[in-house]
């Protein structure tokens, strides 16, 4: 099976003034279609950096990142923006919903960039909110929702365009244990039932154990694939 994501000899060096911070050094990673990969590693090891590169919101200093056959490191900013809008769904630690928009409107945001009619957008948004189990809260504002519910709205926003890949940076980092469980159950379902390829970063071993594959990042290097999560 062809790999959906191919990362070849990728390095990333942050430059600020004359200070160079090497963060990733010659990373190689393949992620198959339908994979559910968890990345773990100490703070500062470069997990977010790697995730950003896969998601196309940052560019590597060196190396190739081929996603679905496209070398995204070579795309222009605007082409990359377009590519992200149809291929990547983002889930953040702090949900990052727009506070003045309702749950429905937040989920609808990515669809505003498509040619869908208002009616079609409504169908998609309702479907996405149904999947995360929040259809009845669609007119709530973020501050009227619990943290776990906000994250579910954020997940609905991530899947509403039906992207290939979901990118999640510590999606349970700000949640209590029960809400975290719910979110991970939802993520597993998105992977198994809706065939989303998921790359997730976490600090928490229990959260990581819900993924299919676990990889460790340390000091900018990916440790050899040492085992499958349970």
């Amino acid at each position: 099976m062809a790999n959906l994501i191919e990362i070849k000899e990728v390095s990333k060096i942050y430059r600020r003034d004359s200070i160079e911070t090497p963060v990733l050094t010659g990373i190689n990673l393949s992620v198959g279609n339908g994979e559910f990969l968890a990345l773990m590693g100490p703070s500062g090891s470069g997990k977010t950096t790697l995730l950003n590169l896969i998601a196309g919101i940052d560019k590597p200093t060196d190396g190739e990142i081929i996603v679905g056959g496209t070398d995204i490191a070579r795309l222009s900013e605007s082409a990359l923006a377009k590519w992200r809008s149809s291929n990547i769904g983002f889930i953040f630690q702090f949900y990052n919903l727009i506070p003045v928009l309702t749950a429905f409107e937040n989920v609808e945001l990515p669809l505003l960039l498509t040619k869908l009619s208002k009616q079609e957008r409504k169908q998609h948004v309702e479907a996405a909110l149904n999947i995360v189990g929040l259809a009845e809260r669609m007119n709530y504002y973020p501050k009227q929702l619990s943290g776990g519910q906000e994250q579910r709205v954020a997940i609905a926003r991530a899947i509403v365009t039906d992207p290939l890949i979901l990118i999640a940076d510590e999606p349970t980092g700000d949640l209590d244990k029960n809400s975290a469980e719910e979110i991970m159950t939802l993520m597993q379902r998105l992977n198994s039932e809706f065939k989303k390829t998921i790359v997730l970063v976490t600090h928490d071993a229990h959260t990581a154990s819900r993924a299919k594959t676990l990889r460790h990042l340390e000091k900018g290097d990916l440790l050899p694939a040492d085992g499958q999560a349970a």
Partner: protein
């Protein structure tokens, strides 16, 4: 359309802050409107002045009167088509708060030299035949609800005593810039009264106004008039009405340029008020803008959102300010009785205020837009306000 809704919701995210910003802009625009109105009113005398009229006054000072006998002499000067004369009457109507200009004019010649003051035949006939009658401007009549037949009582100062004038009619200004706030009374009647009480001051004229013939050279005619009275006890100075007005403007020029400066300083203040609000919101929304970019929104979308918000707030402030300008100018006009001229908000003032507000809306968005565009998505998402 969704984006418009988001712009609107974003603008009112911090209701109090946005409200105070709009209020601040509104108050500044109001001050701007008042200043521009006053500056414009100064200039309106010049615009209203006629190019074919000359004013002859005492060469030394405007206050010194000229003899009535000059009338026939001036009439003889080649190039002079018509002559009229008038005196500043002064006096007080009710009290100092109720100021308007009052002139004693020659009833036979005044309205033909000043055709821009339009009066009906009946009113004109009555003004000529009734010694104590007067003609009032339409704006003046409107302010005090004067009608034909009403008696206006004036307490004299230059001409002491209690004076009663009966309104013979109301004149209409021909142009928007024509003064409509003056009162004209019969010079002959005034002169008869003065003869009784101050015989020494009879047959004195404040100044003469000549209308020159088509094609006559105003400079030449002025020289000839002044030459007539050279080396007499009352030498004259004749200049065009426009020069006369400009001479007055020059004397208050420093005030006008100060007001001009201040009005543009106000625009700067509006900009700072708005820019401050916009920069605060842009900073607070660093992460949101980064998320929108990550989702696929382009720079152009962000520019539209930020610019839209800035323009919305500045326009709301501008509209509020323009609405506040009217009552402010009216109350200012009623207590200051500025130059006796009708102070009114002119469309050029509205256009200037509107342009300034749009300019400010755009300028205040520049920094936030730059910030939103230049922040790398990855950094923006990490950003913690």
């Amino acid at each position: 359309m969704k984006v418009l809704k988001l712009i609107f919701k974003n603008s009112f995210r911090h209701k109090l802050r946005t409200f105070l910003t709009i209020l601040g802009i509104g108050v500044a625009v109001m001050a701007f409107g008042l200043l521009r109105t006053v500056v414009n009113a100064f200039g309106s005398g010049v615009r209203a002045s006629s190019a074919d009229r000359l004013v002859t006054r005492d060469a030394v000072t405007f206050i010194n009167p000229l003899p009535l006998s000059y009338f026939n002499q001036i009439k003889q000067v080649p190039g002079v088509k018509q002559v009229t004369y008038m005196n500043w009457f002064g006096g007080t109507y009710i009290d100092q708060q109720h100021f308007f200009a009052r002139y004693a004019v020659d009833p036979n010649t005044f309205f033909s030299v000043y055709p821009e003051y339009e009066i009906g035949k009946k009113a004109f006939a009555e003004f000529q035949s009734q010694p104590n009658s007067c003609i009032v401007g339409s704006a003046l009549a409107q302010r005090y609800n004067f009608k034909a037949g009403d008696v206006i009582t004036i307490n004299g100062d230059i001409y002491p005593g209690t004076w009663e004038f009966q309104v013979a009619g109301i004149y209409k200004p021909e142009f928007k810039s024509t003064d409509a706030m003056s009162m004209f009374l019969n010079w002959n009647y005034l002169n008869e009264e003065v003869k009784q009480t101050f015989p020494g001051r009879a047959d004195e004229v404040g100044w003469y106004v000549e209308q020159i013939a088509n094609g006559a050279n105003p400079g030449e005619v002025s020289k000839e008039i002044d030459a007539l009275f050279a080396n007499s006890p009352a030498e004259t100075k004749t200049e065009s009405e426009r020069q006369f007005q400009q001479g007055f403007l020059a004397s208050v020029g420093a005030i006008i340029s100060a007001m001009n400066y201040v009005s543009f300083v106000i625009v700067g203040i509006i900009m700072l008020v708005l820019a401050n609000t916009m920069i605060m919101s842009a900073r607070e929304r660093t992460r949101e803008y980064a998320v929108l970019k990550a989702i696929g929104f382009s720079g152009r979308h962000l520019v539209g959102m930020i610019l839209g918000e800035s323009l919305l707030v500045s326009l709301l402030g501008g509209i509020l300010g323009i609405f506040l300008t009217y009552p402010l100018v009216n109350s200012f006009a009623s207590f200051s009785n500025f130059l006796g001229a009708e102070l009114s908000v002119q469309s050029i003032t509205l256009i200037t205020a509107f342009t300034a507000v749009v300019f400010v809306g755009i300028a205040a968005a520049i920094f936030p837009i730059q910030r939103a565009m230049n922040t790398r998505i990855a950094d923006g998402i990490r950003f913690v306000g």
